[in-house]
């Protein structure tokens, strides 16, 4: 007769880069149920919006997370611009999308390295993180910072990135693509990788829809939802955009989606750099510009981990009443508990890694 045991997993665990705790209810090495818990790094950043004026808060938003840093600043700025009714120049929109896609490459390479490290593929981990340095170098050359870029502001961008720098970034991306091709072939075709990822932690299409999953986690189960298809910002100027999906629903499918999204991001950057307009990068709103009382707006953008929701509400002063960020991880926690049901205890780290949770974002 088998007994049920509760195994505490995390918040500090060798394969977990983030402080998430799980109570794994196991029976004979099989997980019957997984109950997640967060709350170890809550910083009250949403509350801080009441103490920083709406221009300053961009820099706070950027510090919500170290991986999707640029996206958070962009999402907040875009929501505030919508609330204030500000139009930004096309060039600023293009630059934002280019930097967001570079962030996607950097995030996916970081994740790929962590996954390789998770199953003991140390050399692959090192190669992925070496390639990621190329993106950080591009950030440093174009924005000045490697992680926190501080180039976004409400009303546009703090400074322009000239065309020569953008072209040089594209050349670096060509080199990166060549090297990445070798790495991704190893990652997706290696038997040891397949044996750890194929058929593990499967979520089917219906479950993904009913659990409102987002990002590569949902796309791995065949869900085509991607906010970039709505054509917001400069995404609307792309010749063609089709979200990358896979129908298997297992860890391997999620891995494949992320690997291919890197190629897609490189293609988007090259296309936008080739046709970037020259109409300025906008300017900060004047000191008299204040959101109206009870003015509210929200935006949904596609972060590397999936759709993120940014909501702002004004109160007639330069301070806001409310800033709300719903991160992809918060939305995917339900899917994670489902994916962990019925799996072997040894597969739990792999499944969590392929979901790529970011608890810093989720807790804010």
């Amino acid at each position: 007769m088998s007994n049920r045991t509760v195994i505490p997993f995390g918040p500090q665990h060798p394969v977990l880069p983030e402080p998430v705790h799980l109570d794994l209810i196991v029976e004979d090495e099989h997980v019957i149920e997984a109950i997640p818990q967060i709350g170890f790094v809550h910083r009250g950043l949403e509350k801080l919006v009441e103490k920083r004026d709406f221009n300053q808060f961009v820099y706070v938003a950027e510090r919500i997370c170290g991986i999707c840093s640029f996206g958070h600043g962009w999402g907040y700025a875009e929501a505030t611009e919508r609330m204030l009714g500000l139009e930004i120049p096309k060039r600023a929109s293009y630059l934002r999308v280019i930097l967001q896609e570079l962030s996607r490459i950097h995030s996916h390479l970081l994740w790929l390295g962590l996954l390789a490290d998770g199953f003991g593929f140390e050399s692959l981990f090192n190669h992925c993180w070496r390639l990621r340095e190329t993106i950080l170098d591009i950030f440093q050359e174009t924005c000045g910072g490697r992680i926190i870029l501080s180039i976004t502001m409400v009303g546009g961008m703090t400074h322009d990135i000239d065309d020569a720098l953008l072209r040089r970034a594209c050349e670096k991306l060509d080199d990166l693509e060549r090297e990445y091709h070798t790495i991704v072939n190893t990652m997706l075709n290696d038997d040891s990788v397949r044996s750890r990822l194929c058929g593990v932690g499967t979520i089917n299409y219906e479950e993904a829809l009913s659990l409102s999953m987002v990002g590569p986690f949902a796309k791995g189960s065949g869900v085509t939802h991607d906010m970039r298809t709505t054509g917001f910002s400069a995404y609307g100027d792309l010749e063609h955009f089709e979200p990358i999906v896979s129908t298997e629903g297992d860890c391997y499918a999620r891995c494949k989606v992320r690997c291919e999204e890197i190629y897609q991001a490189i293609a988007i950057i090259k296309e936008l750099v080739a046709k970037i307009p020259h109409d300025g990068v906008g300017q900060a709103p004047g000191p008299k510009v204040k959101p109206e009382k009870d003015a509210r707006a929200h935006v949904l953008i596609e972060q590397p981990r999936g759709e993120a929701f940014y909501y702002v509400r004004g109160n007639g002063t330069k301070f806001l009443d409310r800033f709300r960020l719903r991160t992809p991880t918060s939305q995917n926690l339900g899917g994670m508990t489902k994916a962990l049901q019925g799996v072997d205890v040894a597969d739990v780290p792999m499944i969590i890694l392929t979901i790529d949770p970011c608890i810093s974002c989720a807790e804010r």
Partner: protein, 246 residues
Amino acid sequence: MYTTSFEELPLTELLVRVQTLKHEGIRFVQLCAEKGSDDALDLLYTFYDEQRDEALNYIVPLAEGDVVPSIQELYFSSFTFENETHDLFGVPFANMKLDFGGHFFNVATDAPMTILSPEQKAARDKAAKLEAAKKAKAVKEAQAAREAVEDSSAERALTTSAAEADAAAVAEVDKLAPRAAKVDAPADPAPAAPAAADASPAADDRAAKMAAKIAAMDPEKAARARAALAAKGIVLPDAADTKEGE
């Protein structure tokens, strides 16, 4: 580009509307609380209709004491947001499928996000102080009652503590002059006084040193030490005399 709409929805109609949205295959995006009218709270539910590319926002005003029905049965992923709203804003939810009981976010203050203005913060601080004072008063009263009950035993406890203090003093004296104590205190305690009188010159010297050390002590402690030695039959010379003799 997607469109956005905001609509006010009474709390009583929330579940019915969410059921309809679920039936239509509309995706749940998020739930959060925010400041409503008269410092009450509003809940903001967001859904996304992928067929029409439309974000649907429902603002649900809350009144004091309202309990919000959980939508986890329909959209399980809302468990994160319902627990978060409960922990940060103190909004109660009914029939939650996964309820962390206020421990989803381990924050130091209950409902920290509900402080919306300096006036509210001052009121909350004042209430916290009153609560703390009330608790302190209750503790003090309970202690006084306990002391009244244990009044007789308290005296006994005091006697015991005095005896303990004497024993400590004796131990200290023994530590200061163990040899003197050994020499001065023979195996048979009865003839202790004559033995002290017949002490050798070396023992006298040690006793004089010990007397000097006792004289350097706190007067109360010194008196206890002298009393303890006297009980053992050891009489020390007066420290002042010792100095003169030297």
